[in-house]
């Protein structure tokens, strides 16, 4: 085997060629996949929005900062025949059992919750992952409630929400995420619609 000598110039040249070839290949693959990846992410977002608001034909997105600080939330205003039918809020919490949980919360224009779906979580399989709609109907209890009159806390904390058996921390975190969405929603959207009189339904 005519192996190359490990001289300085040989080593530098080899590493340079290997990394250059790797960079070129990765750049090519990145360019080829950039569009399908963007499409897949967009499809996922659209699907999540369509689950938490009534039927719509037009979307408008805007970002608002939550009142207690932290990352801004993405509000997706859903219109049907130019009438506001729902608002899907992309919300988050850092209080999950295993870190950040993101969820999509849908509101009616009057502030009631239409539905909630999780987007990403790393909760314990079999326990905390009951926030996933495909695993359990636990999150159905948020349907139709008005956070102004319902306390978004688990019963253990004197709230109105049933916790998940053996995963109270996850349930608390989910309530926290929904509360954050509602607070921001109340600050930026509800206060305006109330000034202008009855929201158009």
């Amino acid at each position: 085997m005519a192996k190359k000598e490990s001289t300085f110039i040989n080593m530098v040249l080899t590493l340079f060629l290997v990394t250059a070839a790797a960079s070129f290949t990765l750049a090519t693959v990145y360019n080829l996949t950039a569009e399908p990846i963007a499409q897949a992410r967009e499809a996922k977002r659209q699907f999540a929005i369509s689950q938490v608001v009534p039927e719509f034909d037009r979307l408008e997105s805007k970002n608002f900062l939550p009142p207690d600080g932290g990352d801004s939330l993405e509000f997706n205003f859903a219109y049907m025949n130019n009438e506001l039918v729902g608002i899907a809020v992309n919300t988050w919490t850092n209080r999950g059992y295993s870190g950040r949980i993101t969820a999509m919360v849908g509101f009616y224009p009057d502030g009631r919750i239409f539905d909630v779906v999780h987007l990403q979580h790393k909760e314990t399989p079999g326990l905390g992952d009951k926030i996933d709609k495909s695993k359990s109907d636990w999150s159905d209890q948020f349907k139709g409630i008005d956070p102004e009159t319902t306390t978004l806390k688990v019963r253990k904390d004197n709230g109105d929400i049933d916790a998940i058996t053996a995963a109270t921390i996850t349930a608390r975190a989910y309530c926290d995420a929904i509360q954050r969405a509602y607070d921001t929603f109340a600050d930026h959207v509800l206060s305006q619609t109330k000034q202008e009189g009855e929201p158009e339904l």
Binding site: K3, K4, E5, T14, A22, T25, V29, T33, I37
Partner: protein, 197 residues
């Protein structure tokens, strides 16, 4: 005949997970279901195939002292290719495996085969070795994932075994179940290895 031997050694005799005990991090981490195990195994097989092929092609032009950094760059490139392709075309699988894909870079199985086999053998044998080892790894992960899914959720590949019963022995879905299941499968494979030897 020699190639056949190289191919089949990865299944029982030198099974990467249960006999060589390589790549235990993904083997324990992602195998909460048979499907996850299969997906991770096939992704690793692809990376192994790519890295073994390239390493055996360029083994003679790489100076000895910089071979490890070169191998790591090659492996990392293939892992990134798998990650981007999976996110683009298999978003559902990516959602459950995405977190673990970058870990293939540090899977000692891939590095081990590049260093111990591909850098000393020709392309043909290296490809056969990658396929055998990769499929052996896939077999191991699918078996462990299947065992944990059957005991932990009473289902296999997402199909319920007992209609209406979804809560199995939760411990098998959680981390301790991975170690318990792994232990019993190691016993089984050592038994099989002794029998076939």
């Amino acid at each position: 005949m020699k190639q056949w031997k190289i191919f089949t050694k990865g299944f029982i005799k030198d099974n990467p997970v249960f006999i060589l005990l390589l790549g235990l991090c993904p083997a324990l981490g992602v195998t909460t279901s048979a499907f996850n195990g299969l997906g991770m195994g096939l992704a690793t097989t692809f990376v192994l195939l790519g890295s073994n092929t390239v390493v055996s092609i360029i083994k003679n032009v790489i100076p000895n002292k910089v071979r490890i950094p070169s191998f790591i760059v090659i492996i990392a490139s293939f892992v990134t290719i798998v990650q981007l392709t999976m996110e683009a075309f298999l978003p559902d699988l990516f959602e459950s495996l995405g977190l673990f894909i970058p870990l293939i870079v540090v899977n000692c199985l891939v590095m081990g085969r590049a260093e111990a086999f591909a850098s000393k053998n020709n392309i043909g044998s290296s490809i056969v070795d990658a396929l055998g080892m990769g499929l052996g790894f896939t077999l191991a992960l699918t078996m462990l994932g299947g065992l944990r899914e059957i005991l932990g959720a009473y289902s296999i590949f997402g199909i319920q075994l007992i209609p209406g019963v979804t809560d199995g022995m939760l411990v098998f879905v959680l981390a301790p179940g991975a170690f318990i299941g792994m232990g019993y499968l190691i016993i089984l494979f050592n038994y099989l290895k002794k029998k076939t030897a």
